[in-house]
Amino acid sequence: MSEREVVLEVADLKVEFDTYGGIVHAVRGVSFQVRQGETLAIVGESGCGKSVTLQSIMGLIPMPPGRITSGSAVYRGQDLIHNKYIDGRDIRGSAIGMVFQDPMTSLNPTMTIGDQIAETLQVHRGFSKSQALARAVELIAMVRIPDAAKRASQYPFEFSGGMLQRSMIAMSLACEPSILIADEPTTALDVTIQAQILDLLMDLQKEKGMAIVLITHDLGVVARMADDVMVMYAGEVVESGSIDDVFYRGAHPYTMGLRAAMPSRELGARQRLTPIDGSPPDLFSPPSGCGYFARCPQAMRMCQAQHPYLMSVGKAHHSRCWLQHPDSTRQVPGLSIPHLGAAAVQS
């Protein structure tokens, strides 16, 4: 893996929410790096804090009730937590673009698609309205929507889901950002459209050289897109590394569980899915030990008492599991699951 420039470095980010039931510790000390031109996939089940992490960096969580209690997010030497402006310009939409999960509700229903794309250019690039609209038409064509000129003057309700997501992508890329955050960009779309959107993202990445942060719970999407993978659980990073490390040399029981839960093709219709039993811990009062303790098949006594730290298990490969501690006498089982090779290539 070539070492490319780090464009975004997040360190020890902690986010809390005040609710009637108490304080929810949604993100509990997350650190990661995003490198130029590469794709970082953040995976984990619903409520593990993957979206909150990125939204808090982008200043999109409502505050209050949300609150960033510690940590930093540095974009090319500039801290984003306290200042979202570089040279008086908002980095959101210019240096970092964002695509959301549900394209049907993520676009303004009373504005034309062209206007919504052009708006970003007017604000960040100082384009005139007509200049911006002309560029918007080019962008719509770039994301492979036919008849771009006509489409630009239409409203979101006249578009299909796939076309809306393409428009979202065109909008987020209008100012050629160096990072694109894609928050479950294909979850709301059907499978054939999913593949088209992912292809589009990969092609555009090659063309523009931007970094992509892909938030997803679909390991198939990860296998197709990612260079690096970060697995989150209960507001923490439990494993991170290159895609090969995490997929073939997984070093955390939760990663194993996720992979085992993934349906494989060759077993066919008679295959029984292997779920991870139990549910994630209560984030009102996170456990003092390992967050995965209650569901972990390899749990040891110390896992309940001692909170594990991220341990290095290889070059740029980390796992938050006591089994990886140098003093651990137990081996991590299940390092090779037979159908995995097929799964990784699957979609």
């Binding site: 982008m58 200043g59 999109l60 409502p62 979202k84 310009r89 908002d90 980095i91 959101r92 939409g93 210019s94 673009g97 964002m98 959301f100 549900d102 509700t105 993520s106 676009l107 303004n108 229903p109 009373t110 504005m111 034309t112 708006e119 970003t120 604000v123 960040h124 409203y155 309700f157 006249e158 979202m168 909008m171 987020s172």
Partner: protein, 311 residues
């Protein structure tokens, strides 16, 4: 769009016909007639008068005559006022009532949208709490109380300052119009404020507003282009009924402030069973309201492309 408007106008015409018929039936169901209030008259005189005014004809025949005349735009002559055509009464009173009503609607809509957006922005903070308290007051207190209180306040203020900026009653200058239209629009404004507040809060939490923020747009632009326009839609929807509420409420305010609008004639006519005036003013008012509702629908279409393009 044109087809849509024509369709709405046709529906409106049918509605007006319903209003006319219902009023006609209700009016004739009331005991007595325009002549029964007069001082004692011999049966002969009465018969002559009935024949003159067509009151001796069968009700169905009267209805037919009324409809034909209405279609020609002729509402007849007042029974109780000398030599007054109903059309003259409308021509004289309506512009006054309409001015008052439109001012009140504009005041209610602008005030409601502004205050609603403001309370949503300052949700659960001091401005929100204070305004929402006043809003509850505005919704609960009927307009005639506000009219009386407003007038009393004006009297006191004028006496205290020694000069009259806003006259206590009457009609004629812009200054005459301010206080009555404020009073008249107050209840509706309070209602619209509530509606706008909840609609604004809803819009603020939508995905597309989050998208707008992720694009790094300045807050003012997000507010105007992404929040306000979408939040206004439910407010525009109720503007039609709101106009109806304001115009009917107008009768009372006109009375209190001695404004020579239609309301006064309307109330008098009902008391005296002045058939032609009742029919004329009711049908005219009905038609006006129906037209306003259609106008509101068209405006709605202009704001929301989904309505405009799918219709």
């Amino acid at each position: 769009m044109l087809r849509y408007i024509l369709k709405r106008l046709l529906h409106g015409l049918i509605t007006v016909w319903f209003i006319a018929t219902a009023t006609f039936i209700a009016m004739h169901a009331v005991p007595g007639d325009p002549l029964s209030g007069e001082k004692a008259m011999t049966p002969e005189i009465r018969r002559n008068l009935e024949a003159k005014y067509g009151l001796d004809k069968p009700v169905v025949e009267q209805y037919r005559i009324f409809l034909v005349n209405m279609a020609k735009g002729d509402f007849g002559i007042s029974y109780t006022q000398q030599n007054r055509e109903v059309n003259d009464i409308i021509r004289e009173g309506f512009p006054v009532s309409a001015t008052l009503g439109i001012l009140a609607v504009v005041f209610a809509a602008l005030g409601g949208i502004l205050l609603g957006a403001l309370t949503a922005t300052y949700r659960n903070r001091l401005p929100d709490v204070v305004i929402m308290f006043l809003v509850i007051l505005g919704i609960s207190v009927p307009s005639f109380v506000f009219a009386a209180l407003g007038q009393l306040a004006l009297v006191k203020i004028n006496a205290w300052t020694g000069f009259t900026l806003f006259p206590v009653a009457g009609w004629g200058t812009v200054m005459h119009m301010v206080v009555p239209s404020l009073v008249l629009g107050l209840g509706t404004m309070a209602y619209l404020t509530r509606l706008m507040r909840s609609s604004m809060l809803e819009v603020t939490n939508t995905d597309y507003v989050r998208t707008a923020r992720s694009k790094g747009l300045p807050p003012a632009r997000i507010f105007l282009k992404h929040q306000l326009r979408n939040a206004i839609l439910p407010v525009v929807t109720v503007l039609g009924p709101a106009i109806a509420a304001i115009t009917t409420g107008g009768f009372v305010v006109e009375l209190v402030f001695a404004i020579p609008g239609l309301g006064r004639y309307f109330v008098q006519a009902v008391q005296q069973l002045d058939y032609t005036v009742i029919m004329g003013t009711t049908v005219f008012y009905g038609a006006f309201l129906v037209l306003m509702v259609i106008v509101v629908d068209i405006v709605y279409g202009l704001i929301d492309p989904r309505v405009r393009l799918k219709a």
